[in-house]
């Protein structure tokens, strides 16, 4: 089922007495296609959870409409929307067994939808099998590992075969290895069921690795939506460029003069854009060490982490929080004269942003 958001806005009166208005979701206007896994990505407090709560009906929008398919669900209460939701802390009922937890939504069905005991058990088992916890049915949540609890929560959300599955930071309580495994599981489950899924995270790598589409948001505003690689390769603005990718993109102050891009004194590349002050964003993999390169940096050290060799260096125009980080092939020839290292830049890894509004040029 596709999800359409139409000028969706949610404002809160701030909780700390000052009673200023917080716009948690600001004029969301886009469509989430049917059957896709969509990663909703942004820093903490940017309104991701609020967006999910609006979609599932726990929050009422200040303005705008929500459609599931062609159906306007804006005024529908959560139980009539046919959504499954997994909360960050899983919210498994601690006094019920895994089986009882998964059965819980089915037992709520009334009237014509009411199911027989056998059918309910069958469905619960089916959901449990899907997330591979069917051998743990009689345990209490406290007797499960974090990853298993997480899967129980997904099974409970899926057991009524919802049209939409919403996951709010489902992996953030897991350790690094489990996180990797579980996100593959989520990917697999989503593929198997084909349920339109929105997956909230503040971890860009997580979102990039399993999503069909990502939506990057900042302070309640949608910044960019697209396939992960497209958004990475063509960031719409400086925020998106900085938010995606590890190590983070290197950002420099620069200017365009006579169709040349200057960082400090160095004319690093050509451009067609007009003269103006700019930010230059260069991905760590966008540098080519070259004895005759146009971009000069002060060499600091070489770091090897796993398969990556990175050069750490300095430049006065760099405004990133940390030093410049350059990822190179280990067989690249390094030129280092008097502590100066020279690079050429890959145009497709170098992004220019207007200094005025930080949008891409």
């Amino acid at each position: 089922m596709k999800i359409v958001l139409e000028h969706l806005t949610k404002q809160f009166i701030s909780r700390n007495s000052s009673s200023e208005i917080v716009t948690a979701v600001n004029d969301f206007d886009f469509e989430i296609p049917d059957g896709k896994l969509v990663g909703l990505l942004g820093p903490s407090g940017c309104g991701k959870s609020t967006t999910l709560n609006l979609i599932c009906g726990l929050e009422v929008p200040t303005e705008g409409k929500i459609y599931f398919g062609d159906l306007d669900v804006t005024a529908l209460p959560p139980e009539n929307r046919g959504v499954g939701m997994v909360f960050q802390n899983y919210a498994l009922y601690p006094h019920l067994t895994v089986r009882q937890n998964i059965l819980f939504p089915l037992e709520n069905l009334k009237g014509e939808q009411k199911l027989s005991k056998e059918v309910m058990n069958e469905k619960a088992l089916e959901a449990a099998r899907l997330v591979q916890i069917d051998t743990l049915m009689e345990r209490k949540p406290s007797e499960l590992s974090g990853g298993q609890q997480q899967r129980v929560a997904i099974a409970r959300a899926l057991v009524k075969t919802p049209g939409v599955l919403l996951l709010d930071e489902p992996l953030s309580n897991l350790d690094a290895r489990l996180r990797l495994q579980t996100r593959e599981q989520i990917r697999r489950i989503q593929k198997e069921t084909g349920i339109t899924t929105i997956f909230v995270t503040h971890d860009q790598e997580e979102a990039m690795s399993i999503s069909d589409l990502i939506i990057v948001m900042k302070e309640g505003m949608m910044q960019q939506m697209g396939k992960p690689q497209e958004v990475y390769n063509h960031p719409a603005n400086l925020f998106v460029a900085k938010f995606l990718g590890t190590p983070a993109i290197n950002v420099f102050e620069g200017k365009i003069l006579d169709h040349k891009v200057y960082i400090g004194e160095d004319a690093v590349m050509d451009t067609e854009a007009e003269d103006q002050d700019i930010y230059v964003g260069i991905r760590p993999e966008g540098f080519i060490p070259d004895r005759n390169g146009k971009f000069n940096c002060r060499f600091d050290r070489i770091e090897t982490t796993g398969r990556d060799t990175s050069i750490v260096c300095h430049n006065d125009s760099c405004i990133s929080d940390s030093d410049i980080r350059v990822i190179v092939d280990s067989d690249d020839e390094l030129n280092n004269e008097n502590g100066i290292i020279r690079f050429n830049l890959k145009p497709n890894k170098t992004h220019l942003f207007s200094k005025k509004d930080e949008t891409v040029i």
Partner: protein, 298 residues
């Protein structure tokens, strides 16, 4: 190493153990012994025989039987009612947003109010004097019911006042415990339940109740024990001659047997105290057994 640590542990416990031995265990054993000694006398430290005579006597004493009956009525009415009312009020408090703090304070006020002041309020409400019929009677009169003497009148009227008073006194503490228990239930449980289309009743019985069951259980156990020990409130309402008023309780009977006008019978008092002990123990064990299945500690 283990043994030395063990020794150290006992050493730390020693002061507490000494106090408990002197002030609790020794008297307990003493009472137990007295209860089997016929006609024990404090002054001469003498007794006339050993056996079940004391128990037989009190179990045939109409005053004791009345006290047991009164105590049981009090317990059976006030424990469920006060817990239930406290739960209802807490649920209401928990669901309102505005003025929540104000109401919470209002409901807690009786707890920090002087007993004498509370007693005075009850006087104004219930007591018939030369000058006034009491507020409740005035209300009854206004709907055409004739006055009832709640303090010196019929048994049921006195029992009503006693239960009313007891519930009133224990309510604030129970509300305090239950509101904090309700507030500590993670909101996400309710959100999940709402998304899953759970009815209000089912949310209450399948989520809220199990979640607050430890607090509820604590209140029920301490409620039972507290109600079985009722005495001072009864004196405050009906004076010291409780047997004459027909409003004595088991603890009141024990006190009367020791120090009352008809006092001076430590053996009877001890036997009565042990009967109370047996009753409370039984009820508590039953409570614990029931709780095993129904109380969910996290």
């Amino acid at each position: 190493m283990y043994n030395r640590n063990n020794l150290k542990g006992w050493l730390y416990l020693l002061p507490a153990l000494a106090f408990i031995s002197v002030f609790m265990i020794y008297p307990l054993i003493d009472v137990f012994v007295y209860s089997f000694e016929e006609n024990y006398n404090f002054a001469s430290q003498s007794y006339t025989g050993v056996g079940l005579y004391n128990y037989s006597y009190i179990l045939h004493d109409p005053y004791f039987l009345q006290a047991v009956k009164n105590t049981f009525i009090l317990v059976i009415i006030t424990v469920p009612l006060s817990t239930g009312i406290a739960l209802l009020i807490s649920l209401a408090l928990n669901s309102i947003k505005k003025l929540k703090d104000l109401f919470q304070t209002v409901f807690f006020l009786p707890y920090v109010t002087n007993t004498l002041a509370v007693g005075l309020v009850f006087m104004i409400l219930f007591k018939k004097t030369a000058y006034t019929e009491g507020l409740i009677n005035l209300l009854l009169n206004s709907v055409g019911i004739s006055s009832v003497d709640f303090i010196e009148g019929p048994y049921w009227a006195k029992m009503f006042v006693l239960c009313f008073y007891t519930i009133w006194v224990v309510l604030p503490f129970k509300i305090l415990i239950l509101t904090s228990a309700l507030a500590s239930v993670n909101k996400d449980y309710y959100n999940v339940a709402r998304i899953d289309g759970t009815s209000k009743l089912r949310i209450f019985t399948r989520i809220t109740l199990p979640m607050i069951s430890p607090s509820l259980f604590y209140l029920i156990i301490t409620g039972f024990i507290g109600a079985f020990k009722a005495y001072s409130d009864v004196v405050a309402l009906f004076g010291t001659d409780l047997n004459a008023a027909g409003m004595n309780t088991i603890v009141g009977y024990v006190y009367d047997m020791l120090y009352g006008n008809s006092g001076g019978y430590p053996s009877f008092a001890s036997a009565a105290a042990l009967v109370l002990f047996a009753i409370v123990l039984t009820i508590t064990v039953i409570n614990l057994l029931v709780s095993r299945k129904n109380v969910h500690y996290q």
